[in-house]
């Protein structure tokens, strides 16, 4: 079985509330850092859909101290990488560099997070590119199916637009809106800086203190908009698209990371849809040749997540594939797995978890992310212990709670979808 390295990270909190995590990993002469800011899409309302992404896209477009190209110049001359993304639960600035350039790039990252300028022309350009991305996703059946599913699962929640989907909303966002969101959420007590690589923790702490220590914390603390999750639609979501395959996607609302059902749902997802030896791959691909890729996902989220399986198949096989997919999910809540089968799924999940903790980028991400989600560093060990302790009965009861009413999201030609009834 894959042995798991324990995370050996150190954690500090600065006087202004900023959290610093350092993970020493001397294997290579490089340093990766993730700077998390709590919020992300969770800060959006229906009228500001897309704001989190626009903010991420414009943060690196100039700061009080640097014009946009001067900033790009500094980063690239150091041979480093620096980018900002919006995620459903946070924003994250990612940087990687050789150890000798780290301080320079960290200073630049402080500029990016603390004093962006939101130049009018850069904001307009970023809006155009994000709107183009929305249109390009319409070319991809999987993205269309995913978008439809999100709309159905989250009728009144920003996860519906965690990938921007509303060009009209994006166009309405102004530089003043961006400035206001930045003033509200970008503050030291909402920031976690996680650094991994060949580092001396004391030096790192000094640098973070130097570049972030005088960032003042206004009061009061920001509160995220409150969402009462409306009941999900249960009618099939369909889009007609000229395509030589039918995309079948089945999704359920699923436990948020802090709920007790999170770990059992992870194991169930691994069992059913992860890897070539998964139940779906064996039954639908190996035995019947119904699809090339049969997969699923259950992302880790602060608010209720989604538990999804999907495949693309030839139109004449779509009806069979759909009924088999639904039957396989139903089996999970109709009868418990054997201990042997559930143990295999647990080993597979833990093995993949271990493989996801190899590079400095992965180590920096995991430690910072756990802190940002409010789980803390101890969650690394707790997660693994919880996986081991989960019983087949708990899996079965969890499936009964969450997996009984899948929502169908289907993409294909008119005739192909008509045949599915």
């Amino acid at each position: 079985m894959m042995p798991v390295r324990a995370m050996t990270s150190q954690r500090w909190i600065l006087a202004n509330g900023l959290t610093v995590i350092v993970t020493e990993n001397p294997v290579a002469n490089i340093i990766a850092a993730r700077l998390f800011v709590r919020g992300g899409s969770l800060t959006e309302t229906q009228t500001t859909a897309g704001l989190a992404h626009l903010l991420a896209a414009t943060l690196t477009q100039g700061s009080a101290a640097h014009l946009p190209w001067v900033m790009a110049d500094q980063i690239e001359r150091a041979g480093a990488g620096l980018s900002v993304q919006a995620a459903p639960d946070y924003w994250v600035l990612s940087l990687k560099t050789v150890a000798s350039e780290f301080e320079t790039i960290l200073a630049l990252a402080a500029q990016v997070l603390r004093s962006p300028t939101f130049l009018e022309n850069q904001v307009v350009r970023s809006q155009q590119l994000l709107i183009q991305d929305i249109q390009t996703r319409q070319e991809q059946p999987f993205m269309v199916a995913m978008q439809n599913l999100r709309q159905a699962l989250y009728p009144n929640h920003p996860y519906a637009h965690a990938t921007p989907n509303n060009a009209a909303c994006l166009e309405q966002i102004t530089t003043a809106d961006l400035q206001q969101a930045h003033d509200t959420y970008f503050r030291p007590d909402q920031v976690v800086i996680s650094i991994a690589g060949r580092v001396n923790p004391t030096t790192i702490l000094d640098w973070v203190e130097q570049y972030f220590g005088d960032w003042s914390r206004p009061s009061p603390q920001p509160t995220l908009p409150n969402f009462a999750l409306a009941p999900a639609s249960n009618s099939p979501q369909t889009t007609l698209l000229s395509s030589n395959q039918v995309t079948l996607m089945l999704g359920h609302l699923a436990a948020a990371v802090h709920e007790p059902d999170y770990v059992p749902l992870k194991i169930l997802h691994t069992y059913l849809s992860n890897g070539f030896s998964s139940r779906l791959s064996t039954e639908l691909r190996e035995k019947r040749g119904l699809a090339y890729e049969i997969s699923g996902f259950y992302p880790t989220r602060l608010d209720p997540s989604h538990w999804v399986v999907h495949l693309a198949t030839a139109p004449h096989q779509a009806k069979l594939a759909l009924s088999l997919l639904e039957a396989e999910i139903a089996q999970l809540w109709q009868q418990p797995l054997s201990t042997e089968v559930s143990d295999r799924a647990k080993r597979k999940l833990l093995g993949q978890y271990a493989l996801g903790k190899q590079t400095n980028v992965q180590l920096a991400h995991l430690a910072g992310w756990y802190e940002c989600l409010g789980l803390g560093l101890a969650y690394d060990a707790a997660f693994q212990a919880q996986v081991m302790a989960t019983t087949p009965t708990e899996l079965y009861q969890t499936a009964q709670r969450w997996l009984q009413c899948p929502i169908r999201s289907l993409v294909g030609t008119e005739s192909a979808l008509a045949s599915l009834g």
Binding site: A72, S242, A312
Partner: protein, 448 residues
């Protein structure tokens, strides 16, 4: 006795950028075993993960001309077991221990990898060897797998970027095997038979046609032991000379300029791809040099085409450029995603930019930016055993292991004059092949 080949260390890399990475790892070394198998090994103790990657000279180029699609079909059928291993058992075993396994077929080779714990190696390696050497290619599994491959092709074809890229490969490589898709067409896949694949397997899946890479916490002696024990030479009787593919002539020196125009329904943005033939693996240093050109053009916000076309004129959504190495001749591409009406103007700017690189020496400072970006990327792409094994296998399978870790050295010693020479030698306008994709609003129907 195994024949030990020269060995190299990561410390060949200069400039402080990479000289001391993987500090606790030993040398990477190639050993030829009695069976003819080449073993490439490096002990890395800082990780619990061990990677095994087996490279076979059995890609598309090895296919008999009349059997297109057989190399990739065989790669799928390998996992269908042997006389003593049931179909799917290998995946079941590796994943059940928390490991990962998969395979990839390209024009030059097929390779099969597994990632497991070092302690599991003695248990898992015999099964991987069994799959590769004794594949049963059972007829009972054949039809279902054919459907899987047809679905794989359909999935590829649904991707507009794949469509343009393959039009480009057809245009630039013509009748050479590099010009056809690895998976074959649906019609070709329909024609393949289990008996063909068995002959193809017997001919190529022998230890003397394989390179086994082992990277992880495994000693050299143990790696040699395991490899000698489980990859034994097979006596399968005669080869099948009639199946040997037509020798590849040297069609790659001159490609005629061509332009393939695709139109597809449901397309939201146009694509422009431009390509030039690059060096073969014998001229690897030129290939590395083309990475510098690619970075100069599109690597980062300060790159020339990004500044000109994305930031200043705002004529395109995005742009990318890269050199893809292949044994007999790589390909240098520039790809832009743009509104269809800007096509001609964008092409004009790209041509002017290249002409400038051919006529004017670049600034030392520009070159240094590219060198740093590439060398640092290289360090970030050699962190894990899987990344290392992939690099060793790729170079080792064509007897170029000594080149695997010289990347940074070669990049560092490039001069502005080298960059100009490469632009002049490879990016000549008359050798440029084009493929474009535009939305076809009038058309309806399927992408096929």
């Amino acid at each position: 006795m195994p024949k030990v080949m020269p060995s190299w260390t990561t410390q060949d890399c200069p400039q402080g950028s990479s000289q001391d990475f993987n500090q606790d790892s030993n040398l990477v070394q190639a050993v030829q075993l009695d069976s003819g198998l080449t073993l490439i090994h490096q002990q890395v103790t800082a990780t619990p993960v061990t990677v095994v990657d087996v490279w076979v000279h059995a890609g598309v180029c090895a296919e008999p001309h009349s059997w297109p699609g057989s190399a990739h079909f065989l790669e799928h059928m390998i996992f269908k077991g042997t006389p003593t291993l049931a179909p799917g058992m290998f995946d079941w075993m590796i994943e059940g221990q928390g490991g990962v396994t998969n395979a990839v077929t390209s024009h030059d080779h097929a390779h099969y990898f597994m990632i497991t714990a070092a302690t599991d190696l003695a248990q898992t390696l015999p099964y991987l060897a069994d799959l590769l050497l004794n594949a049963a290619i059972p007829i009972t599994e054949f039809e279902a797998e054919r459907q899987v491959i047809l679905a794989e092709i359909a999935q590829m074809q649904a991707n507009p970027d794949w469509q343009v890229y393959h039009a480009l490969l057809r245009g630039i490589y013509g009748a050479h095997p590099y010009g056809r898709p690895v998976l074959g067409s649906p019609e070709q896949v329909q024609q393949r038979s289990a008996s063909e694949l068995r002959l193809f397997h017997q001919m190529y899946y022998q230890p003397n046609n394989m390179t086994l890479v082992v990277v992880g916490d495994v000693s050299r002696d143990r790696a040699i032991d395991l490899a000698s024990k489980h990859f034994q030479a097979l006596h399968r009787g005669s080869c099948f000379p009639s199946l040997r593919p037509r020798p590849i002539k040297t069609p790659l020196a001159e490609s005629a300029r061509s332009h393939c125009m695709l139109r597809l329904p449901g397309i939201e943005q146009a694509r422009l791809m431009m390509a030039w033939l690059g060096p073969s693996l014998d001229e690897l240093e030129d290939g590395y040099g083309l990475d510098v050109l690619a970075t100069l053009l599109t690597g980062g916000r300060r790159a020339r085409l990004v500044q000109e076309l994305c930031d200043q004129r705002q004529w395109i959504y995005s742009i990318d450029s890269s050199f893809t190495a292949q044994h007999q001749g790589g390909i240098f591409t520039i790809s832009a995603w743009l509104p269809a009406p800007n096509m001609a103007a964008v092409k004009g700017v790209i041509n002017e930019t290249i002409a400038e690189l051919q006529s004017t020496l670049i600034q030392e400072e520009d070159l240094q930016r590219c060198q740093r970006l590439l060398c640092h990327d290289f360090i970030f792409s050699t962190e894990t055993p899987s990344q290392l094994a992939g690099i060793y296998g790729y170079y080792g399978v064509c007897n170029q292991l000594h080149r695997a870790l010289t990347y940074a050295t070669v990049i560092q010693k490039m001069t502005p004059a080298d960059v100009q020479r490469l632009a002049q030698q490879y990016l000549t306008p008359r050798r440029c092949t084009l493929a474009t994709l535009e939305p076809d609003e009038a058309a309806s129907g399927l992408w096929v």
